[in-house]
């Protein structure tokens, strides 16, 4: 996905003089050709994330459309106040693009893990959040968000599904288990594991790469009275949205995702999937537990 982002952004910088890119050293080498072509619009401020966001806010105030990029924890968490004040409070907007996701670089440890990025951005109003599940989804999402005027966050990962799903992010039914089935909504790269886990269970599986704004109309159309969320970031991040969308309907909700506890373990992203119960076996265990409540 990172390569797809770099290629598309390089093209956008050439196509649209309104586009600018602000970096804090991360991926700077990959953007060197773009920086040579557009030295005034490809700005690497060094390892200065507060300034990276402040510069983006200033660029936006002059009418440019900044794309801001770094590792997720440095882009969203380290400079959160700059996102809140230098963009939102100024009524300025930008497109933030992160790499690293929850635990792409598991062996790097806690400093490079960002399971809370989407949750943290969700404290702000009116952000579009895309969590693509395949590199081929990235170019259209990037072009659409950069072509618009609102603030957006693209959360890129090295984890991916087998195939891409196009569209703007409304729920897409991947597996239809028929009337009365529970609805599982998988966000981004957790789809394949969710489909494998649902296998022969009475579960309809829908996919989205856009948790914000969540497709609540699609949710209401597809959901019965049992909903399962599977998100590749903090568990429960979209639970409030689902609860509000189904407030007029008695329902049960199972919200799966990355846990809050700091594991202090390295390994690979696949290891962390397993430890957080987001691999097919762990998801299956959660699904069957939810669909077959324990006898009292």
């Amino acid at each position: 996905m990172r390569e797809s982002f770099i290629d598309t952004t390089t093209a956008l910088l050439a196509e649209d003089p309104r586009t600018a890119l602000v970096l804090a050293d991360i991926s700077a080498a990959a953007f060197a050709p773009a920086a040579r072509s557009h030295p005034d619009r490809v700005l690497n401020v060094g390892i200065r994330e507060q300034l990276m966001l402040g510069v983006a806010g200033g660029l936006a105030l002059t009418g440019l459309r900044p794309i801001v990029h770094s590792y997720a924890p440095f882009l969203v968490e380290r400079a959160y106040e700059q996102i809140k004040l230098d963009l939102d409070h100024q009524a300025a907007s930008a497109v933030l693009v992160s790499v690293g996701a929850s635990y792409d670089r598991a062996a790097a440890g806690r400093t490079h893990l960002s399971p809370a990025d989407v949750t943290l951005l969700d404290t702000l109003a009116d952000w579009t959040v895309h969590v693509p599940g395949h590199p081929a989804e990235v170019p259209d999402l990037l072009r659409t968000t950069v072509g618009g005027d609102a603030s957006a966050y693209l959360r890129l990962s090295t984890q991916r599904n087998e195939r891409p799903y196009g569209g703007g992010g409304d729920l897409v039914v991947v597996r239809d288990a028929g009337a009365g089935a529970a609805l599982l909504v998988a966000v981004g790269p957790v789809l394949d594991a969710a489909v494998a886990a649902a296998a022969d269970l009475p579960v309809t599986v829908a996919y989205t790469h856009r948790p914000r704004p969540f497709d609540t109309a699609g949710l209401r159309a597809l959901a019965g009275n049992e909903v399962i969320l599977v998100e590749p970031y903090l568990a429960g991040t979209s639970a409030r949205v689902v609860a509000a969308a189904l407030a007029d309907r008695p329902h049960r909700l199972l919200a799966l995702g990355v846990g809050r506890t700091e594991l202090r373990r390295y390994g690979s992203a696949e290891d962390h999937d397993r430890w957080h119960g987001l691999d097919p076996v762990g998801l299956r265990r959660s699904l069957t537990g939810f669909l077959t409540p324990a006898l009292v």
Partner: protein
């Protein structure tokens, strides 16, 4: 450019290495009474006590809007206008008074400052107040926004407008400023001028002087008496290099940041 030989001992002290504190200066209310926006400021004050920070910023604000900035209410949204960013957003009373004096906002807005229907908060909001370039209040945001604004103008070939940003010496405690100071120097942002109101309010001071934090990163600098309109004017307009410029305006009261 004002030379050190012509400025007050207090200014010379600030421009040279120092680590001491300074005594309070003249009585501010008396100073304000004769100021061009004194009457407007009194309408905002409405009998309340103002901290010394309000008065310490007033002269720089007046010189900027009266003699330096190429912006009027008619050009407040024009791409070619000069930008003024108030980073120390709590210095807002003098700012509103100057904006009213120059016709950006109606003077009667001043009478209800901070009220439930007022557009004028204790910190400014750019979406509510005509002529206000940034909303500020949390310290350490203006300089980064100013760097981005200067870069954005340059990227669009708008080489005429200048970007001015006003900070306080205590505000410089925030590390975000030092990210911006270092980068602006490296990037050679000639269209950027920072004004630092130095009322010696930084808790741990700035040994070596405020200006040295900028000049070591390639900025040009002038340290002047922050009450002296002529000195402020020449320092603010004496910027003809290819580097960012800082004007340290030294004032005598240091009780509040």
């Amino acid at each position: 450019m004002t030379s050190l030989a012509t400025i007050t001992p207090r200014v010379a002290e600030a421009a040279a290495p120092l680590d001491g504190r300074h005594n309070a200066g003249r009585h501010d209310a008396a100073h304000t009474a004769s100021h061009p926006v004194g009457a407007l400021l009194e309408r905002i004050r409405a009998g309340r006590e103002f901290g010394p920070n309000v008065y310490s910023t007033l002269d720089a604000l007046w010189v900027l809007y009266d003699r330096v900035l190429r912006v009027t209410p008619a050009t407040a949204d024009h791409p070619d206008r000069d930008r003024f960013l108030l980073s120390k957003g709590h210095a807002v009373a003098g700012y509103y008074a100057v904006l009213a004096a120059k016709g950006f906002i109606p003077p009667d807005w001043l009478d209800d400052q901070g009220g439930p229907e007022s557009r004028l908060g204790d910190h400014p909001d750019r979406t509510l107040v005509p002529g206000v370039e940034i909303g500020s209040g949390s310290l350490g945001h203006g300089l980064g926004l100013a760097v981005g604004t200067a870069l954005g103008l340059r990227a669009q070939g708008l080489l005429d407008p200048q970007v001015y940003v006003l900070l306080g010496d205590a505000e410089l405690d925030e590390g975000s400023n030092h990210e911006a100071i270092a980068y602006a120097g490296a990037a050679g942002l000639a269209n950027l001028t920072a004004i630092v109101i130095d009322n010696s309010s930084a808790t741990h001071g700035w040994p070596g002087g405020v200006a040295s934090r900028f000049t070591v990163n390639g900025w040009t600098a002038a340290t002047v008496d922050g009450r002296d309109h002529e000195a402020l004017h020449s320092a603010l307009t004496g910027h003809h290099g290819h580097r960012p410029h800082v004007v340290v305006a030294v004032v005598e009261n240091g009780e509040q940041p």
